[in-house]
């Protein structure tokens, strides 16, 4: 009887586990009721619940989630496959039509590096002890790009992966709330009202050449970013080359959908009480919000610089889209733009910095990997 009781959950459930399950439930609630990145947060939240069930050991070595984590995330395979899917789903046309918006995507990466300093500075507070690798993994939250964050965290600080992924996706969902005040604060009405000229049409050939140009620069100057940039451009080539429709569809649907389920569950399995319920997690959540704010501000400020340099032909708002968070951030730009002028549709122009931000944060991840992680992938 005693033994029977010992095999129930009630007898083995710790408060930490209960709390983590509630966190999982909260993530699912936000995903369903508030549409917070549901494709990721539903599996992550459910993974958190499953992995905190006592006795079952679902996140353990012999458990389903442990096994998926081992095969897909420790190896880096899942985030890279998702990045291939992102490439296959992304149209870089707006960026090709206006390459100068890449500068906006670069500026927004300030969010990453300021956050890195912030994470290191937190070590002054008792209870925090972030290494350079930890700080780098945390900082990438500022890249506002889920697979990049998971990829980097799995390499530099696996024990923080759960908190980092949750922070990254949560703040991405909060972009419509975080960004507008910053955008309004840093721009004046005249700037926000700038109507940009229509984008030129982009030829099929340009779209096919684009992935090769990006990859070439990556090969020459930043090979440590090659896994991420390589899979992104491969996916994009499948999309644009026009002769492998079957494979493009597979990358955009089957592969990314299947991997998203697995990745979400596996990330959730890192939301265990002992690695999540620490003061460090609070630090990570605070730093993540900080990172998004800084990234947005840096993008908008660079937008203002471009506004000056082009004598007012660039609307500085589009700089905010440079944090990536595709396509949410571009939509936010569009919405804030429409507030000032009901006929000023900035969506297309914001897509340029938006996709540039994806490349920008992959580049930043490459640097962090090269310097902090050793050159090894």
């Amino acid at each position: 009887m005693e033994q029977l009781w010992q095999s129930t959950g009630v007898a083995n459930l710790g408060w930490g586990q209960v709390f983590m399950m509630m966190i999982g439930g909260l993530l699912i609630y936000l995903a369903i009721a508030r549409k917070f990145e549901p494709l990721l947060l539903v599996p992550i939240g459910f993974g958190a619940i499953l992995s905190n069930i006592p006795i079952a050991g679902i996140a353990g070595d012999q458990g389903l989630l442990g096994y998926i984590y081992h095969v897909g995330i420790e190896t880096g395979v899942f985030p890279l496959l998702i990045f291939m899917g992102v490439g296959a789903l992304t149209d870089f046309g707006a960026l090709i039509a206006m390459p100068s918006t890449l500068i906006l995507g670069a500026a927004a990466q300030f969010g990453i590096f300021i956050t890195l300093l912030g994470a290191l500075a937190l070590n002054l507070v008792p209870g925090f002890d972030f290494t350079l690798a930890d700080a780098s993994a945390i900082a990438i939250i500022g890249g506002a790009d889920g697979p990049t964050a998971i990829f980097l965290a799995s390499r530099l600080a696996p024990e923080l992966l759960g908190a980092i992924a949750v922070a990254a996706y949560s703040y991405m969902a909060l972009v419509p709330i975080i960004q507008p005040p910053i955008m309004r604060l840093l721009t004046n009405k005249k700037e926000r009202r700038v109507v940009m000229q229509q984008l030129r049409p982009v030829s099929k050939l340009e779209k096919i050449l684009f992935p090769f140009v990006v990859l070439l620069l990556c090969v020459l100057f930043l090979p440590s970013a090659a896994p991420l940039i390589g899979m992104l451009t491969f996916g994009n080539l499948l999309r644009e080359c026009g002769v492998v429709e079957r494979l493009s569809r597979a990358a955009q649907n089957e592969i990314i959908n299947i991997v998203t389920i697995m990745l979400g569950l596996a990330v959730g399995s890192k939301l265990s009480a002992d690695s999540f319920l620490t003061v460090e997690t609070l630090g990570i959540l605070a730093l993540g919000a900080f990172a998004f704010c800084i990234g947005t501000a840096a993008g908008v400020i660079m937008g203002k610089i471009m506004y000056r340099l082009t004598s007012g032909r660039v609307n500085p708002l589009i700089g905010a889209a440079g944090v990536s968070a595709v396509p949410m951030a571009a939509r936010v730009v569009n919405k804030v733009g429409l507030e000032s002028d009901h006929h000023n549709f900035l969506l297309m122009h914001a897509m340029g910095p938006n996709v540039a931000g994806v490349i920008g944060s992959a580049v930043a991840a490459g640097i962090l990997l090269a310097v902090v992680g050793g050159a090894a992938q």
Binding site: A94, I96, L120, S136, S203, M348, I359, V371
Partner: protein, 83 residues
């Protein structure tokens, strides 16, 4: 490493990192401009493609929108019933 040393490392990393990001993306601006020029030379006026974000945001050709709506509803029914 002391926190001060770490912060120093962090500042170095920030300078290096932002420098590389800017350098990389600015080089990319140059490279893409060159690429577009090259494409214009190579591709003798091929039919220009309208940037696809338009499609992605839903403004497809008007004439068959209605048809598509009807069909897509039907297809959804079909799928719901046949799975």
């Amino acid at each position: 490493m002391s926190v001060a040393d770490l912060l120093l490392e962090g500042v170095k990393l920030m300078v290096l990192g932002m420098g590389t990001v800017f350098m990389f993306l600015m080089l990319l601006v140059v490279a893409m401009t060159g690429m577009s020029r090259l494409a214009r030379i190579l591709g003798p006026e091929e039919t220009p493609v309208v940037p696809a974000t338009q499609t992605a945001t839903g403004s497809g050709p008007r004439e068959d929108k209605e048809l598509v709506a009807v069909i897509s509803a039907a297809v959804r029914h079909y799928r719901a019933r046949h799975r």
